[in-house]
Amino acid sequence: MSGALLEMRDVTKVYPNGVMANYKVRFSLREGEIHAIVGENGAGKSTLMKMMFGMEEPSEGEILLRGEKVKLASPQDAIDRGIGMVHQHFMLVPSFTVAENMVLGMEPKKGLGIHFAEAVRMTEEMSRKYNLAVDPKAKVENLTVGMKQKVEILKALLRGAKILILDEPTAVLTPQETEELFRELRLLKDQGHTIVFISHKLKEVKAICDRITIMRAGRSEDAFRTADVTEQEISRLMVGRDVVLKYDKEKREAGETILAVRGFSLAGSAGSRLLSDVGFTVRAGEIVGIAGVEGNGQTPLVEALTGSLAGTAVGGSVTVKGADILRADIRAIRKHGVSYIPEDRMRQGAAGEASIADNLISTQYASGKLGGGMFMNGGKIERLAASLIEAFDVRCSGPKQPIGMLSGGNMQKVVVARECSTEPDLLIAEQPTRGVDIGAAQFIHRKLIELRDRGCAILLVSADLNEILELSDKLLVLYEGRVTAYFEEPSAVGEEELGLYMLGINRQDPEQIGRAVHR
């Protein structure tokens, strides 16, 4: 193991709540490589990286940089030693401009104040040098996720990072954006940077990584050369069993129309069109997928369906089982038998301090199933929670554990469990497996199919092409707020072909698109 650029020896991390996230982990990074770390949700990947970046202190063990023992007490220590990190969750200040985010902590000065022009110049220079196009003066809150990702990488590079840690950088990117990122990473590698890459998408790992370290339940094993292992082998090592990536989904006759969106147009605050003449139906027992590059109308569409209409409906109608829901609030919409898996589990999907049980019952506490009158039956809640935790394989210490302590994937399982457990007639699933490991993703997919088979109508909005092509019975593509394609046989559509519609290069004729509306 000598000659390693960075080495972690027997590193153990116990969080103050008693969770042992890493146990005697060994990790070694060679100069100039792209090194993948894979593992299930909660395997301890992020924790390990945070220690490498000085954000968490190891409880035990040592870190060596170029053979020399180092103590990384703060991110500044790590930055000083040429380590940069792009975090799983964005580490940007939304109200700041790109340039301000770039220079935060190392501001160029003119007199007492910040030299803003210099900050902009520095940003532009970095942007040119690494071929990552960003607008220095744009406010970060207005950027797309892909843009934010670039800012994050530039931030690290600006600080002179030679070792770049990327924690699930592709989880929120479209295939095209991912491709672009990979080109940039290869460029960085050529320029002498060393990269640690964390992802749940094994295809990506195979595509750009030289070596791979697998983590399981807080422990690590020696690294493999990526070329020596197959995707199947990796996933078996990660999960401890074989993972099937194809689902045998039987064909099913679709039932009556549940959700009907007809000629729906939506105007935004600045007079812009968010949606134009969108029409489709979702029938009982079918999964309708909506594909599209993020920012092409998916969010306003889902908002309109879930009672938080942001803008003015200019025309058209949205009905569930015949009832107009456009002006109803989410409570009323849910009463029509609608369930909703939100895109942002931290903001809407869960209450972090509350227990798993409390998070599981939020959509059915009032139903009468959990106790009559105004009281709730603690025993029933506990039993329901326990059974859902078991059925959805949520890794936790019990129903009373605060959900905020769970890893991202397990938190997502709680959200899915809750939304599936109310026997919905319509499920709106928005990015249901974002940031979720393959084991858990597969599990969630199974649950969605199961629900469909029981006659539930499902609207699936996802940026993950693989997922959307696998699961959907019918598929729509949104581009700039319009439906540009409708496929009745998604499994027959290739990713490349789909990409052309998503980027607005191809467009079907109105008649084909019109078929999306049944009856």
Partner: protein, 348 residues
Amino acid sequence: MKAKYFEPFRTLAVILIALVIAFVIISLVSDRPLETILIFLWEPLATKGHIGNLIEMAIPLMFTGLSVSLLFRANLFNLGAEGIFYFSGVVAAAIAIHASLNGFLHPIAAIAAGSVVGALLSAIPGILKAKWNANELVTSLMFNNILFGVGLYILNYQLRDAKAFSSASYKFEPTALLSRIWPGTRVHAGLIIVLVMIVAAHVFLYKTKWGYELRMTGANRAFAGYSGIRTARVIILTHLIAGFIAGMGGSVEVLGMYTRFNWVSLPGYGLDGALVAMLAKNNPLSVIGAALFLSYIRNGADLMARLSDVPSEMISIVQAIIILLLSAEQFLKFWKNRMLLKEARKHG
């Protein structure tokens, strides 16, 4: 030692350290520091009368502590218990003076009136917050002063007994007074009322649907709204309940401890209630302990000032140190981390 015993251990250590610091400060001004600190620690529990004093002082603290803890639970930073406590006291006093009812109904009517008025007044910042997102901290702080002014006006112009030679109301009808429940002390029926309220609040918060809505709204309002909880209604309801309890506290205090209404300044229980709520981590049942604890150190301080040569103002310094240290979560944490690692290694 096991990690799970850390909290009690830390609390003990903190109290010991706070006492040592208090001892050092007392030594600076007292000739007999040891005797003085023993008075502080022991005297509040030394006689039946003193225990009674401790409990009777804890009653209003429990009321406001409970009220504030519900607000804090719903993530509402409202410090309005102070003004409501005062104003409801005025209302209860008015009924205690002017109504003639029997000894059973009279206090009930007075307390009910005070509580309902408290609830209605509290709902105003609640509605402003829920409907227009007006900052509840600002409105509640302002309301404290407004309610005090109006209450004092009512006292001086409507309730004042000129023969009391001061800003004191007419004497309450004897039927209105709360009965003493522990002979030889002034501990009154308010204790039973507040304990019932605390248990009710506990049940409400953890066993009912409304309580669940309140907790979820407090934990993450976006999540609650997404789940279908009408958060605006929850916020108003929480304000109503909190105002009801604070108002009840003011009414009970007036009828339990006084024979006339004579508050010419805000009694200070609102902010103390915030202190109690924070010490109790916003848990209704823990409010009992937190209120008794605060009452204990305050009574100890009074007695120390009375029986020794330490000026009373010094006590506020000692109190501040105890509060600062007691809630210092990170204090001695390194120790806990060591214990955790040891345990983890054993299992790992």
